[in-house]
Amino acid sequence: MADKSSSNAYWKANIRTIQLFLVIWFVASFGFGILLRPMLAGISIGGTDLGFWFAQQGAALVFLVLIFAYAWRMNKLDREHGVEE
């Protein structure tokens, strides 16, 4: 078992990563897809606007990148803090 201060630092780094990623998650879906759609109305794409694209396709693509980025970042953190399996 890793010592306590190391695992605390690991957990704090994890929480910071989660917070950052949740902001991106929120902005890409609830933001661009719903709440901010009127602001993106000026950017047209294929007969509609960018907000429509984010709501129907863009958000899912952002989610994909987020998960793999999180997995990569956590693998690195695991090793740095010596808590990997």
């Binding site: 129907q56 899912a60 693998n75 695991d78 399996e85």
Partner: protein
């Protein structure tokens, strides 16, 4: 060869494949039965999770809802993909580290209370049975069409097959079968979409075709669709017509419901390491996105093709003649679906034409949204084997999810209730019998309620997400991210979340989904236009608040539990599952 024989052949061949795999990969131990021996590669696990996840709601129902609601239905697309981000970051790695077999087991241990575990079992059963009702609706639609019987008969046949299928094997059999089912369902979904996208836009990638130009009008296909449906009095396709609050809450409900549904979470118990649990969520989303990026194109293009059937010379010209519908070969699909009772037309004004528009008094066509995906290849006049393939894909989607859900229900009953408290000395044989009986009861209840479902398949499934979102997700969250939340707090939180959401749903959909007992219609302004499907996020908030307030008034979780929480937060030492 006629279509009926072709359907039977293709569906029969895929079934033979699943059964073959199930026999080849039969479970040998309880660890294999519940968690596939934890030896499943993350990519394969992601694929199986994709099949488990994408049910009749995604495959059969979602594109139909998108076809008729346009932009407003984006909530389904965002909600059912965004939840995987939450699963990967907030739930899966920690529960894998914890290393037990069921979700109620984690809740019981973390909140050091049998009561917490029992409440979690109740939440799981309520959410999962609601979910199975949605699957039954979808299975009923699929079987009624391809066996050419009415919807009720289709539902009963479907229930019998789900039962035989689900009791066959454990998690290991299910995992490999689901990989095969994923392959069948994604091919079945994509091929007709490619054909239709080529026909309408010349672009072979449906996801790109959605934003391309219509080959007939030269204008973007979404602009053409807007003009066409607005000419018939329908609301625009790309515009927002639902309230922003409802869309927000509904999307949130689907997302957190995803991260709280036990049959999804257990998928991450089957991978070898914590790191694999994180990447497995990513792979699952890769495979899910292949369908979810195509679905909006399927919806929009199906709507356009549907209107072209009834207005073959354009919406400015008179509608199709009744005699055409009854005899012309390109309208065979209308006659086929009429047999299921899910599509009806009636020449009310007796002008010999079938009009389709937004006016209830003059509209002469009713189309159940759940038939859109299955009817799509027929509407576009695609070859017979494509139609048969889509039937097989729809059944693969419904069966794989129903199996996963029934597995979750039966392990909750046999493992969390009977083995852990009612009769700890039960034999393996007895445990298995209890599991099968609980599956049978769940199927019977879901079939009965599926006869008069509370909504289209995807809407019923959305209710299940609301229930999981309001009860299980917050308990998991607090169990991992707070060391202090105690047993009383968690139990009262779960109960408040579950009960408020369930009551809200029953007030709208009728008590126990018996429609005549409903007191509100959906989107009642008195309730801020929050639909019953969107209430889960509110229930979750109430759950969190209750748990924090109650914990604040009682003693915080003891030292050994706080240590348990610390240990699940780091991957080191996950090893193999500890047996119960």
């Amino acid at each position: 060869m006629d279509q009926f024989t072709l359907n039977l052949l293709v569906v029969g061949a895929t079934f033979a494949l699943y059964i073959g795999i199930a026999i080849w990969a039969r479970a040998g131990s309880t660890s294999e039965f519940y968690a596939a021996g934890r030896g499943v590669h993350p990519v394969l696990n992601g694929m199986a999770t994709g099949a488990d996840w994408m049910s009749a709601a995604s495959f059969i129902s979602m594109a139909g809802i998108i076809a008729f609601s346009g932009y407003d239905a984006s909530t389904y697309l965002m909600g059912w993909t965004g939840g995987y981000v939450l699963l990967a970051m907030l739930v899966a790695p920690y529960l894998r580290k914890f290393g037990k077999f069921t979700v109620p087991e984690f809740i019981g241990d973390r909140f050091y209370s049998q009561a917490a575990r029992n409440v979690a079992v109740i939440c799981l059963i309520v959410a999962s049975i609601t979910y199975v009702i949605g699957q039954m609706t979808g299975v009923g639609v699929a079987f009624s069409r391809f066996l050419e019987v009415d919807n009720t008969t289709g539902l009963f046949i479907g229930a019998a097959i789900v039962f035989m299928y689900a009791v066959l094997g454990g998690m290991k059999g299910i995992t490999y079968t689901q990989v095969a089912q994923y392959v069948v369902l994604i091919i079945a979904y994509t091929i007709p979409a490619i054909f239709i996208s080529l026909q309408l836009t010349g672009n072979p990638v449906p996801a790109l075709g959605l934003f391309s130009n219509d080959v007939n009008t030269g204008a973007p296909i979404l602009a053409t669709l807007n003009d066409t449906i607005e000419a018939l009095g329908f609301k625009s396709y790309t515009g927002q017509h639902d309230s922003t609050l409802n869309m927000f809450l509904f999307t949130m409900t689907l997302m957190i419901g995803t991260a709280g549904l036990p049959h999804v979470i257990v998928r991450f118990f089957t991978v070898p390491t914590v790191a694999d649990a994180r990447s497995s969520a990513g792979w699952a989303l890769v495979f899910i996105s292949l369908l979810y990026l195509t679905a909006p194109a399927v919806g929009a293009m199906a709507r356009l093709n549907l209107i072209n059937t009834f207005y073959p010379n354009g919406v400015e010209q008179p509608a199709v003649e009744l005699s055409q519908i009854e005899t012309a070969p390109q309208n065979l699909w209308v006659r086929n679906w009429e047999k299921t009772g899910l599509l009806t037309f009636d020449d009310k004004n007796g002008d010999g034409r079938i009009e389709y528009n937004a006016n209830n008094d003059t509209n002469e066509l009713n189309v159940n949204r759940d038939i859109i995906t299955l009817a799509n290849p027929e509407i576009a006049n695609l070859p017979g084997w494509v139609i048969a393939l889509v039937a097989a894909g729809g059944l693969a989607a419904a069966l794989s999810t129903a199996a996963g859900l029934l597995m979750a229900i039966s392990s909750a009953v046999s493992h969390d209730l009977i083995k852990s408290q009612i009769n700890p000395g039960i034999s393996e044989k007895g445990e298995l019998l209890a599991a099968r009986i609980s599956m049978a009861v769940a199927i019977a209840v879901a079939t009965y309620l599926g006869l008069n479902p509370p909504g289209f398949a995807a809407q019923t499934v959305a209710l299940a997400f609301g229930l999981a979102a309001s009860s299980i997700f917050p308990a998991l969250m607090m169990g991992i991210f707070s060391k202090k939340i105690n047993n009383v707090g968690a139990v009262s939180g779960m109960l408040v979340g579950l009960v408020t959401t369930l009551v809200y749903i029953f007030l709208h959909k009728g008590w126990f989904f018996i429609a005549s007992t409903a007191s509100f219609s959906d989107a009642d302004p008195m309730l801020l236009s929050i639909k019953s499907t969107s209430f889960g996020a509110v229930g979750a908030l109430l759950n969190f608040i209750t748990a924090y307030v109650v914990t604040g008034m009682t003693k915080e979780a003891p030292e050994d539990i706080q240590e348990l929480v610390e240990s699940i937060r780091i991957p080191k030492g996950s090893g193999a599952a500890t047996d119960h």
